[in-house]
Amino acid sequence: MNLFSTLANREKVEKLRNLDVFRDLTFKETLEVDELLHERVYEKGEIVFEEGDMGHGIFVVVSGKVRVDPSQELLKSTVLEFGPGEMLGELSLFEEAPRFATVAAVERTVMVALLRAEFSSLLTKNTKIGVKILVRLSSTMSRRVRNLLLGQRITPSL
């Protein structure tokens, strides 16, 4: 029984550590974060979130693909599809603000969601994990902002 649960954990951890945002975490830390993550499966065409929805957390694509449908002109020039490892809605991890764009699954997509309230409790309980995730988030966000400013076609921060 233990052997099976360890194998299942190993598989789960490997899957999560393939995602950019959790790459720096150790095995134990990834398991701890996994406790807070919510796995969701979206069918082809199903909406993940809509523009104007209040954002309460981030979504990370584990497998499949999602499409972004922004109404802002500035974002229309950006890449409209997110694949495995990409995150969406990272701004809502820091402030309760409406989503900038609508996101829907292009194919059957598996995503994990991390809610702001749970992330805040993680930051208090285990600062080390929180900092590792925050560094990854910041680097992704700064890359996206830079690319947006330079007018490159790259996924925007939502």
Binding site: E35, R40, E43, G57
Partner: protein
């Protein structure tokens, strides 16, 4: 509102059937919210979650067993004399009531002409003479019946501390994608409200105990701490509990000081003072006034609760009404959101289309079209 009352009555009816599980469950939930900060603190210091939970529950259990073992001989001695003790306190109360009526009859002769004192005396004498025979055995049996279910409390607390996150994830998994994010947020808010309520309740009980014990000690009524604690715990039952606690303390004071009724009256005044302190100082500082239940509705719920579920309904009417109101509000917020509803319908349509064999691959719809006009 009518729907909330109906659901509350149904829940009370159900709770009455499983009361031996409901009470340990509520106690476990309260202890869980009080112990969680301790577990979190240990985890923050690098202790593994499982070890932190086991150590916390073990320490609390050892302390509880230690207190029980120390007080058990005293309790057993008292229990052996229960019939005499109950009679002693009831006659003390009767004595106080008699003296009070005498004073009233002197002040208002119309009461004397109506033989108020004699009638009250007869009624109370009949009740107190038969009390031990009629009720004492039942009360003791009821208490014994509760013992096994109370053993569930540490087990449930341990389970909640160990697996509450997994339990939450399991519940959230059953929520459709469209409602997921909002439900998760509201779930987290409900958790916050429950945590602050239960932690506040424990703090309030502590403050009440200190005030009552200090007051009773100053008046010379003993055992001041035990009486203060018992009255503070009884006041968890809104209105009714406070009244029972007050009567209990007044009976003890009246029996221990039969020639000084002023002490019993002082106990009554102390109770009123602590209630005022509770309402205007302690309650806003600890629990707050999050559940705005109208007093008229409270009284109505007492009667409805008692009719539907007897004593259980009377005790649990207000807490259940509060929880049903909060959960109802949450469900209404999620389910009544037109955007979320239309998104849910679209997702169901997609799932149905996908499950039908031989259905040609659908193009990805323009997501903005699925919004409700």
């Amino acid at each position: 509102m009518v729907l909330t009352i109906l659901i509350t009555c149904s829940v009370l009816f159900l709770f009455q059937k499983i009361i031996l599980l409901v009470v340990p469950g509520l106690l476990a939930l309260m202890i869980y919210y009080c112990l969680r900060p301790l577990v979190d603190r240990l985890v923050l210091r690098g202790v593994r979650h499982e070890i932190a939970v086991t150590a916390t529950v073990a320490v609390v259990l050892v302390i509880t067993i230690g207190i029980f073992l120390r007080t058990a001989p005293l309790l057993l001695t008292r229990a052996a004399q229960l019939q005499n003790t109950a009679g002693h306190y009831l006659s003390g109360g009767q004595n106080l009531l008699r003296k009070t009526i005498d004073v009233l009859e002197e002040a208002a002769p119309v009461l004397k002409r109506a033989s108020l004192g004699k009638q009250v005396d007869l009624q109370i004498k009949d009740y107190t003479d038969q009390f031990a025979k009629r009720h004492l055995g039942t009360v003791v049996l009821e208490l014994l019946k509760w013992l096994p279910s109370l053993f569930l409390v540490p087990y449930l607390t341990y389970f909640l501390l160990m697996d509450s996150t997994r339990l939450k994830k399991f519940l959230i998994r059953s929520i459709p994608n469209a409602f997921f994010e909002k439900s998760l947020l509201l779930f987290s808010r409900l958790d916050d409200s429950l945590r602050s309520f239960f932690q506040g309740l424990v703090l309030l009980t502590f403050l009440d105990t200190i005030c009552l014990a200090a007051g009773l000690f100053a008046l010379g009524v003993s055992p001041a701490f035990v009486l203060g604690l018992a009255a503070a715990i009884l006041s968890w039952i809104p209105y009714l509990g406070s009244a029972i606690g007050c009567i209990m303390v007044v009976l003890v004071a009246a029996s221990d000081f039969p020639d000084h009724p002023s002490i019993a009256y002082s106990c009554l005044a102390l109770f009123l003072l602590v209630r005022l302190l509770d309402d205007f100082v302690f309650l806003p500082l600890t629990i707050g006034r999050k559940l705005h239940i109208h007093p008229l509705l409270s009284v109505l719920m007492f009667f409805l609760g008692a009719t539907v579920a007897g004593g259980t309904g009377l005790v649990l009417a207000l807490p259940v009404l509060g929880v049903v109101s909060v959960v109802g509000e949450i469900v209404a917020q999620v389910v009544m959101d037109r955007r979320l509803r239309s998104r849910y319908r679209a997702a169901r349509l997609l799932a149905t289309t996908r499950s039908q064999p031989g259905t040609p691959s659908q193009p990805v719809p323009n997501v903005s079209l699925t919004r409700e006009a």
